[in-house]
């Protein structure tokens, strides 16, 4: 079973961000066989995200979302454009994820805004963010301004992006491929680096 996790940072209800996330999800599910979808609505986790910034640990619902994202075979992430970039809420979620959580994970990036003049936000904000997180961003990003929801072109881009994500989810194996993940605290807890090795590394120049 392939796990697809959809992270959406819309604030209103209904939100165009959530609507776009749903269309991307439906198209990706259609392109994949046997897929399990988990939705992460960041609005519901906003308080817990702030708490984690201050305490360093996630409350249970947020912990479940972080675990789901870290274990996902593919991600769809959608943010509204606020002040020429992703929203602070969206960024906070990726700020608190443990280093290495997205290593090698295929990601479809998408954004919504009131006007098409924000469309490059995918290229100047989202793509660099996920490149830094060592995720694999699919070539087609999907940007939707208010007008796009009324027109016929959005569907074509949604289908193309979903197809690209599906192809990567099928082909990139984080365990067996050249994409190796950084060791996390959980990895160390499960199989700790032996102390002789730590001693050797400590004094290695």
């Amino acid at each position: 079973m392939t796990s697809l996790v959809v992270v959406s940072a819309g604030l209103s209800n209904p939100s165009s961000t959530k609507l776009l996330a749903d269309r991307l999800t439906a198209a990706t599910v259609e392109a994949l066989e046997d897929v399990e979808v988990t939705h992460v609505e960041l609005r519901d986790l906003a308080h817990q995200l702030t708490d984690q910034l201050l305490t360093g640990f996630p409350a249970p619902e947020l912990a479940a979302a972080e675990t789901a994202v870290a274990g996902a075979d593919g991600l769809v992430v959608v943010t509204p454009v606020f002040s020429a970039s992703y929203s602070g809420l969206f960024k906070t979620f990726f700020d608190v994820l443990e280093a290495g959580a997205l290593d090698g994970t295929p990601v479809l990036v998408a954004a919504t805004a009131g006007t098409a003049r924000h469309s490059l936000v995918l290229e100047h904000a989202l793509r660099p963010l996920f490149a830094y997180l060592r995720a694999v961003v699919v070539p087609t990003g999907v940007f939707a301004a208010t007008d796009d929801f009324a027109g016929p072109d959005l569907d074509a881009r949604v289908t193309r992006a979903a197809g690209e994500l599906a192809a990567l989810v099928g082909k990139v194996s984080r365990v067996d491929s050249a994409v190796s993940r950084r060791r996390t605290v959980e990895d160390e807890l499960a199989a700790v680096t032996p102390f002789e090795e730590l001693l050797r590394r400590a004094s290695e120049r």
Binding site: T55, A59, V185, L198
Partner: protein, 381 residues
Amino acid sequence: MQFGIFSVGDVTADPTTGRTPTEHERIKATIEIAQKAEDIGLDVFATGEHHNPPFIASNPTATLAYIGARTERIVLSTATTLITTTDPVLIAEDYAKIQHLTDGRVDLMMGRGNTGPVYPWFGKDIRQGINLAVENYALLRRLWSEDVVSWEGRFRTPLQGYTSTPRPLDGVPPFVWHGSIRSPEIAEQAAYYGDGFFHNHIFWPAGHTQQMVDLYRRRFEHYGHGAYDEAIVGLGGQFFMRRNSQDAVDEFRPYFDNAPVYGHGPSLEDFTEATPLTVGSPQQVLERTLGFRDYVGHYQRQLFLVDHAGLPLKTVLEQLDLLGEILPDLRAGMAEGRPANVPDAPTHASLVAAAGGAKDSTVYAAADDVTGRSDLEEVQA
């Protein structure tokens, strides 16, 4: 089973009055709190180490030596000693000296416990935190166990024929704990040496503490120091007590809401549910504390944080009075169902006994240079 308190020495405004104690008041209060800890029958007082405001916890060795001179029985410890930025040569000398001054009433807890800006003040880099902890501690052990050390490493200047003085009291170095919240490498380090492992416990959910302690116990057994349940475990804890639990909640809430570490974040209710913080009646604190064993097993040392977040000295002393009242029940409760093979926390006496008795470890030098001759004359000679 040992019970005690640990202090980080923060100088924090009392949010209910807006008044911040002076450094002098806070330093003197720390001494009074330590003496009170002995008076109510606690076993351990531990001080933190910080080198920046708002803390008065620099130079912990002076603080501990002073407390040692004014107490009779209580074990002095650290929470934590900064093994990353403190020269292990100084740690070896300082704590061996306190051992002698207090007749063995001292042990240490190693920690990395620094923020990024602190490291460069000591010529170090936080990104090397684990490596510093590993190399520095390996050297510290040699300085205590070998009379003459020649050593070369990565982080400090080499040593040739160096003897750390005074030698450890009775030939037995202080017992060492290693504290870490979230670094499995440190649990591994503690296990490798058969040292104690202390989990701060108070800032994170119990499930995480459980994982770290479990790793330490498994590796302690792996390295042949004893069985899984014979490893030496310490935990932090945090409470605020009043006889009536609602009074405790009402009084503590402003301190919680403005506390330096978790203030302005989760609610008191969420945090008490997620972490071991207990705000309520003495009975509630007793029951919660006895419940720690359910997820870490029978353990050796329980330290509580009581003097922080701007709580006035008077309130802290009242908290200790209440702790003194439940202490007999805590001891009785922890003794219940404790298997015979679970050891107590090592003390100087038990370590001396294990070493086959006390021995004079003095290094008697053949000659000294306290002869009135100047350094220059020595060099020219």
